[in-house]
Amino acid sequence: MFSLWHKFKLLDFRYHLLCSFIVHLILIGYGRYHDENYAVPFTDVDYKVFTDAARYVINFESPYNRHTYRYTPVIAFLLTPNVLYDYFGKLLFSVINLIVALLIRSIVKHGLAEFESYKRSDENKLQITQVVEKTNKRRRKKQKNSKKSDGEISADLAMILWLYNPMTIAIATRGNCDSIAGFFVLSTLFVLQVWKSSFLGGFLHGIAIHVRLYPVAYSLALFMHLSKFSFYSHNYRQSPVTRLVKGKHKKLQLKGTENGVLSVERRQTVFKMEYVYYLIPNWEQFKLVSGCMLSLFTLTGFFYLLYGYQFLHETYVYHLVRKDTRHNFSMYFYLQYLTAGIKNIGFWQKLLTVLPQIILLLVFSVRYGLNKLSLNFAFLTLTIVMVAYNTVLTSQYFIWILVILPLCVWQIQMSKKAAFFLITIWFVAQAAWLLPAYFLEFQGHNTFMFIWVQSISFFCANMAILGRIIKCYMIGKVQKIN
């Protein structure tokens, strides 16, 4: 079993892409058969909405003439061939899945290479733990005869995690467009980290926000990543050189970046007033913001001119003001339901619903955004917070996490047993929610209270997992020396 897995890992990444694509094709074919023969369709409800919207676009009409079309017109434009070939969209989403896999592989590979070069740099005081060294030695022995390096294996593993994930395959082959937003989010990360192009990164980030609103929460982390105050690791910040700099308030040149030089004026720990300075943009940050504004406003303005306010309402305003009080995974659902229709909801309730989330989003953006090696991890933590604290939470939102998670797997140093335990907790918490939800929705039992209790457990599970991930982030790879 182990050797089979080992061989599987060592397969060339192109075989994995091909295998996954075949699986996608089989499922697209099965979906066709299923839809024709079963009452409950395999295809996502929205897929038909896309096709109908595309039909309107072909007839030079607004895609919003199709009720419940609440996406950017870009989707309807992209899926115009659907009118003739109704499987085109599913094929497109499957291909996007493969491109996302390639992006994951490239980003992880680059991240590992950057980390390796950083480890080798003289200025840092990193110490690789003996445990990791031993593991690496064992790995090297095993892979003596293989053509793949450690980095490539880790990158391929991250890619495999996405390529063979049943949820991602199901989402694409059922015709859900969520992988498109994921594609733009990963493209942003790729361009910023691998190509080091701030303007293009910002441009892609703008498109990502245009496609789906949620990537807007990544903006601060991206901004911080390009800050001249950004650093590589905690002990790097605490190094004697840094203290000297801090004391003299003098600009110094330090080694440790990809081009060998890092400008450092002052580095601070979390929760300091000096963070205000971090918000003053440098040239790279200016390029990022202008790229983002350019694509976001161009696309939004263009479609506003074409389709008017209806476009703004259906694509953005609807999602912002949406109040869906029906049961869902969010722990806020029952509170929202009980207070639905009440106009004078207390200020404290509104504040306490949004404040914890905003605090965490800000802290994660600054803390992990400022670390050059942990931008992907910043995205992961931000996404988990967004999902866990969302007032409406359905399974669809988990894809946001699944896109980012493979990027950080190599950074989360957790035993297989612990990882398995956390995954089990997550699924058990979901299953425990599904049971009372089934009795409410399909059996008509009044189980609101039980669903709420289970949504509380699911929230706790999410927080526990997030806490654990943070604790295991880069531990074992980097150890502070005092």
């Binding site: 409800v45 806020y332 917070v385």
Partner: protein, 236 residues
């Protein structure tokens, strides 16, 4: 000779139309059964007419349909109906705006027309999926009631000279599932082999509000504090 020929032709025409000179007596009975529990139900109607033969009905070129007033507490999903229309499982048209997400107190009623053209009137089975809406939470919770009204049976005979028996109430409704054209229909009485039904849907208990509000909001804060404490004890 000509007189004889005209007499024979007249007799033949009268014979051919013999069945239709008299009005068409539908004599329909309908039984109703609501299946499933919870928020997603299925209404089954069995429409039977033992008076008419299939041949009589087919040659009459008349058609029947059902008209249902859907109350605000429930809805018929337009997407589901269009899919059923597409697959030929039903031929129906929804008159009115349907928001599938809104709760009962923010929704309006809508009308549903089901067209039963080219069906054997002796026995027609109609299945209609309906969904119940969330109702406003009340003190002590429990279940909310929804009164499901009886459907109206409508009929029309588009070919001139053919009509339905009795004085029926006239109404204007869509001709078919496209809803583009309007037709004159007659509201036909039928024998209902069922009573008016009340459906029940779970509703939230406002007595839970204090505990739910305190625990939910506090837990949101505790979660945040826990993560911040983890951050403060771990380094980058």
């Amino acid at each position: 000779m000509l007189k004889l020929f005209l007499t024979i032709v007249t007799l033949l025409i009268q014979r051919a139309n013999g069945n239709y000179r008299d009005c068409l007596n539908l004599q329909v009975s309908i039984s109703q059964k609501v299946e499933n529990e919870g928020f997603h139900r299925e209404i089954n109607w069995l429409i039977e007419s033992l008076e008419l033969s299939d041949e009589q009905w087919t040659h009459s070129n008349c058609e029947i349909g059902l008209h249902l007033d859907v109350p605000p507490e429930m809805f018929v999903n337009p997407d589901e109906i269009s899919e059923l229309n597409r697959t030929g499982q039903i031929s129906a048209y929804i008159d009115g705006y349907v928001n599938v997400e809104s709760p009962a107190y923010e929704s309006n009623e809508h009308k549903l027309y089901i067209f039963l053209r080219d069906r054997d009137i002796r026995k027609i089975l109609v299945r209609l999926p309906v969904h119940l809406r969330y109702q406003r939470a009340v003190i002590a919770g429990g279940f909310g009631k929804i009164n499901l009204s009886k459907p109206s049976l409508v009929a029309r005979c588009p070919i001139a000279g053919r009509s339905l028996c009795g004085e029926n109430e006239k109404m204007t409704a869509p001709c078919d599932s496209t809803g583009v054209f309007k037709c004159d229909w007659e509201n036909v009485t039928y024998q209902a082999l069922f009573d008016e039904v009340q459906l029940f849907v779970p509703i939230g208990d406002l007595d839970d509000y204090p505990i739910v509000a305190i625990v939910t909001l506090l837990l949101g804060c505790v979660g945040s504090i826990y993560i911040l404490s983890v951050l403060s004890t771990t380094h980058l």
